[in-house]
Every structure is written in structure tokens, then in C-alpha cells.
């Protein structure tokens, strides 16, 4: 926001600025920055009020939370099925052999499913999901 003031003679910048703010009806917030530009020719002063990028971290969060009636979309992560299985397996702290033992699927097959060199059928995915204690729908891309 820019406030322009015309002056002549000696100037008390503090007073001048206060009056200009009152006239413009601007309320300064903590964190706002001011820049003063002086144009000699037209005897014109410009006060520029710069609002900080994050006016208030908390205010923004509360505002968004309150107007949540506005569309909030279901987020679907962009991760392939194989990567999902590997991700959950590692999170559960299981090795390929441990998961193979739990599911009854060979270690090699599990490895190729994770690397997506072989597609996994629904029955296999169900067995893996049971072993990882998650819903099978999460594993499906």
C-alpha cells in the first residue's frame, strides 16, 4: 500500500506519517515494514507499507480450518503398488524373508512384485495386506 503526501518547507516525518495514516485509515500491524520514497521535483513523499509474507501463522491456519466447508479433496498419493508394499514392509520393520514367511509367498516373488517386474493378483495382495495388518485397498494404486 502506498500513501502519497505533498509537502513544502521543513518536514516532521513522524507527524506527517501519522496524519497520512489517519487519513488513509490504515492500521499498522506488528511486523509491517515501511519504506519512504522522496521525490524532490514534485515535493512528494511516498510511504510504502509492506505487509510480511506470513502475517500470522496461526491466523491463517484457523481461517482455513473454519471455512472448511469449502471443498477439501481426498488426497491419493502418487505411489505404485510395488512401492507401497515395500514402504509398508519397511515401516513394519520386516525383511523380504520375514514377509515371505508370514504370507507364504516366496521371497523371489515378493521381490519381483515390489520391483513391478511381475503384477500381483488380488489374492496375493490380500495375503500381503493381512501380513502387514492393513486394508488391501491401500495397496492398490
Amino acid at each position: 500500500m502506498t500513501i502519497k503526501v505533498f509537502v513544502g518547507g521543513k518536514v516532521d516525518f513522524g507527524k506527517l506519517f501519522e496524519e497520512a495514516l489517519k487519513k488513509a485509515g490504515v492500521a499498522l500491524q506488528p511486523g509491517d515494514e515501511l519504506k519512504l520514497k522522496v521525490k524532490k521535483k514534485g515535493k512528494q513523499l511516498e510511504f510504502v507499507v509492506i505487509k510480511p509474507k506470513y502475517t500470522s501463522f496461526a491466523d491463517e491456519i484457523l481461517k482455513r480450518s473454519n471455512k472448511l466447508a469449502s471443498p477439501a479433496k481426498v488426497y491419493k498419493p502418487n505411489i505404485s503398488t510395488g512401492a507401497r508394499i515395500r514402504h509398508f514392509r519397511k515401516e513394519a520393520g520386516l525383511s523380504l524373508s520375514a514377509l515371505a514367511l508370514r504370507t507364504g509367498i516366496s521371497k523371489g516373488s515378493l521381490g519381483s512384485i515390489e520391483n513391478e517386474s511381475r503384477p500381483a493378483g488380488l489374492s496375493i495382495l490380500k495375503r500381503i495386506a493381512e501380513a502387514l495388518e492393513i486394508d488391501v485397498s491401500i495397496l492398490v494404486d
Partner: protein, 94 residues
């Protein structure tokens, strides 16, 4: 087995689009785990309940700088409200 649903407000979606690719991937990983196990994850995921004015909100650290701020709603719904980088300069300025 019931799954958790992760929702994103439109502003947070924009923020995610502008975030670095590494953060987008990390966020995807977090969402995947939350869908399966809920918001209280073990391991290196730092899920923190916020205090003060933001009581009732939670944050998870995606890396040292970036964090996602979310709210836990009824029926296993998680609403991500902000994905934001901590701006040390602005904090110091005040």
C-alpha cells in the same frame, strides 16, 4: 479393517504443488502410512500436537524445514490444512 481418509484443503493443495519434489514424495509416503496406521506413527515421523492458539491441531515434520499441519476429524478423517516451510527470517524480524 478401517482405513483413514486424508483430505486436503485447496490452499494446502496449492502449497504442495509449489513445494520441492522431495517434499511432495515425503508427503505421499506419510499419507500412505496414515491411511493404514492412523496419524500416530512410530519411527522417525515426528507427529506433534500443537499448543496455545493452535490447540487441537497437529503437525508432522516432512524434513527439517517443511511440515504439514493437520486436524483430526471424526470418523477417521484427517484434514491437511497447511504444508509450510518454516521461515526463520520472518520470525527473527519480529
Amino acid at each position: 479393517m478401517k482405513t483413514w481418509l486424508v483430505l486436503l484443503v485447496s490452499e494446502a493443495e496449492e502449497e504442495l504443488g509449489e513445494a520441492p519434489l522431495s517434499i511432495q514424495r515425503k508427503f505421499d509416503q506419510w499419507v500412505l502410512l496414515v491411511q493404514g496406521y492412523g496419524p500416530w506413527l512410530k519411527g522417525g515421523w515426528r507427529t506433534e500436537a500443537l499448543r496455545g492458539v493452535l490447540k487441537g491441531f497437529y503437525s508432522v515434520r516432512l524434513n527439517q524445514k517443511w511440515r504439514a499441519i493437520f486436524e483430526i476429524r471424526p470418523e477417521r478423517n484427517i484434514v491437511v490444512i497447511r504444508i509450510v516451510a518454516h521461515d526463520y527470517k520472518s520470525v527473527r524480524r519480529r
